[in-house]
Homo-oligomer: 364 residues x 2
């Protein structure tokens, strides 16, 4: 296309220290972000788009260098679900990540070396508090939030923490907290990183990286992102070639996972994986407020909650838990379970179905 | 109890070489086994009990040294599901394991060192062919087989491969083949072992063992053996103590998995884990015969097939696939899906429910 839109990542340097939930304080915090569309004069057309575990600020448009489109490019753009003709869309990289926002790969101002495990443990609440500073910088007082998976948790936290700012919240393939199985998968994934021969207590930035452990973590992740039906449709029990009768890659599903592991270690940091999965595990407004109703009591947002039938990591039952709490509180909530065979990955793939529902919700 | 029964493991040395499915040949093969009850004069009261991935010949009674009961002690004994007053029960350790039967930990007669990865890749069919030699040694011509999980696959293979010997087959929490998700979990588990810093291409028997990788493999296994509901019941999202704000063990479910990993590496061999999971992945009579009906066509066995409602590793749908094929073939098949919250582990835990059904089936 002649008029292809290109993505540009900017950095906002936060002036004041960031106080974390743990009580620790982070200095010199930066937040990487992209924007699409234009902020109107009233500054009331902003949508903050929130990414999942391994996402980045690059949610839409094309990266000029790599030619790659953003992770939600199907959803963000002119006339798309998040319509850039109408809305000013902000996407920022989360605290603790490795795509420009301050995280364990950043230089610790006190040592002039990458933080590694000296980076403090961060939470979903901390991620949201940092995003708030970016929103303040834009002078935005009211906004819409939208995100899938961990992005949905951030959207939920926005509604809870900043009830006077959030007009509408779009929570997709998410829940108010991970279930025990989700924590278990994250624990094993972290274990693979922590026991990698190259992990070196997180201090590996000038050495070989813990790529085996990180690849295993990613493979575990991918199993949970697909459902058995999706795996069956994609790979069945087909061999890559013939049975090897050794411990090489035999089945197509093995080949897929190995490939996913391999490409991931080139694009993601093992320490960031530790920090962000820990933030996922910790998030639990139900425990913090005593109940989901108490957590949601003061929200002033409209809610759209979308789940996918084959998602077994963030189940429809978990979405319904939020829906029921909101209904009890007489809040404005719409809920749809979309039929999909894509498992948890559906929020990144089923854009047509989501677009219809999101457009209708945003019009409402 | 004064009259406690003690288990005794015996070794049967196979006289002839064992020809494997891969075409390779194993010499000096031994098979470890235990028996409970008495073989009658007609030699027609034998039940061969078949263990799962990490089981051993010690299925019942008490190990005198350790005081530990067998893995199916609740099911085998006087008046139990497999009644030792009536039946002669044989339990043997599978080929490739590390509990007395020849496997990668055994001494390779050609090098006088443990096989390690020089051990040939083995299959479910090879396991069954070795068991057949033990049954021949006893002079048994007709028998009943019973097993859960991988044990059920062996029972299925017995019915297919030795149709004139098997009178009855009890297949519990099993399927005719792993689904793609099952292969994926095994692939990641093997990957954790293969990339462990101490793996040393399988040659670690006089060195530090790949315990981190094996522990990760076991943790992945345990997630698949429980269901989310069982995890929720057992652990919920409870912290072990308080949030640590570091990467130590935070949640009870993490503590459980870490404990399971730790105790497993003291009792199991990493190479055996590789070999046996590969055998699980490879087993596929549907592919081999062209269809499940063709595979089961010549069986002369009665079948009892039991699945558990919360088992997501070997699902009820997979059990039903076998049931439907047997019904199409006009074979004698009984099927029960037992309600359970124990996930795949149910076959080791829900002994009361299983006992009732198995007793009734064996009477019939």
């Amino acid at each position: 296309m002649g008029n292809e839109n290109y993505a540009e990542t900017k950095i906002y340097k936060v002036n004041e220290p960031l106080k974390l939930k743990s009580g620790k304080v982070l200095k010199d915090v930066k937040i990487a972000y992209q924007t699409y569309g234009k902020l109107n004069d009233n500054k009331d057309n902003a949508i903050l788009v929130l990414h999942a575990l391994t996402g980045s600020a690059h949610a839409a448009y094309t990266n000029k260098k790599t030619g790659k489109k953003g992770w939600w490019d199907d959803m963000i753009g002119p006339n798309k679900a998040f319509d850039t003709n109408k809305y000013f869309i902000i996407s920022s990289n989360v605290l603790g990540s490795c795509y420009g926002t301050t995280g364990p790969t950043s230089i610790n101002p006190e040592t002039n070396k990458p933080y590694g495990l000296d980076f403090p443990v961060i939470t979903i609440e901390d991620m949201v508090n940092l995003q708030k500073k970016l929103i303040d910088f834009f002078g935005i007082k009211k906004l819409i939030t939208a995100g899938g998976s961990m992005g949905g948790m951030q959207a939920l936290e926005w509604a809870i923490r900043y009830p006077d700012m959030v007009k509408s919240s779009i929570l997709i393939a998410t829940s108010a907290r991970l279930n025990a199985q989700g924590i278990a998968f994250n624990a094993v994934a972290r274990n693979a990183i922590l026991t990698d021969k190259n992990f070196n207590n997180g201090d590996y930035y000038d050495k070989e990286t813990p790529s085996s452990g990180l690849a295993i973590a990613r493979m575990i992740g991918h199993i949970t992102y697909l459902c058995e039906e999706a795996m069956y449709q994609k790979f069945g029990r087909e061999f890559k070639d013939a049975p090897s009768f050794d411990f090489g890659i035999d089945f197509q599903v093995e080949s897929y996972l190995a490939h996913q592991g391999k490409i991931f270690v080139d694009r993601f940091d093992a320490n960031s994986y530790l920090y962000i999965t820990k933030a996922l595990d910790y998030y639990d407004p139900i425990k913090e407020f005593g109940s989901l109703e108490k957590a949601l009591e003061k929200t002033n947002s409209r809610f759209l909650i979308i789940s996918f039938s084959s998602d077994w990591l963030f189940t429809t039952a978990q979405s319904k838990q939020m829906v029921h709490a909101l209904i009890k509180l007489n809040k404005d909530v719409s809920f749809v379970e979309l039929e999909s065979k894509c498992g948890h990955d559906a929020f990144l793939l089923e854009f047509e179905k989501q677009t219809k529902i999101i457009k209708s919700f945003l019009r409402g």
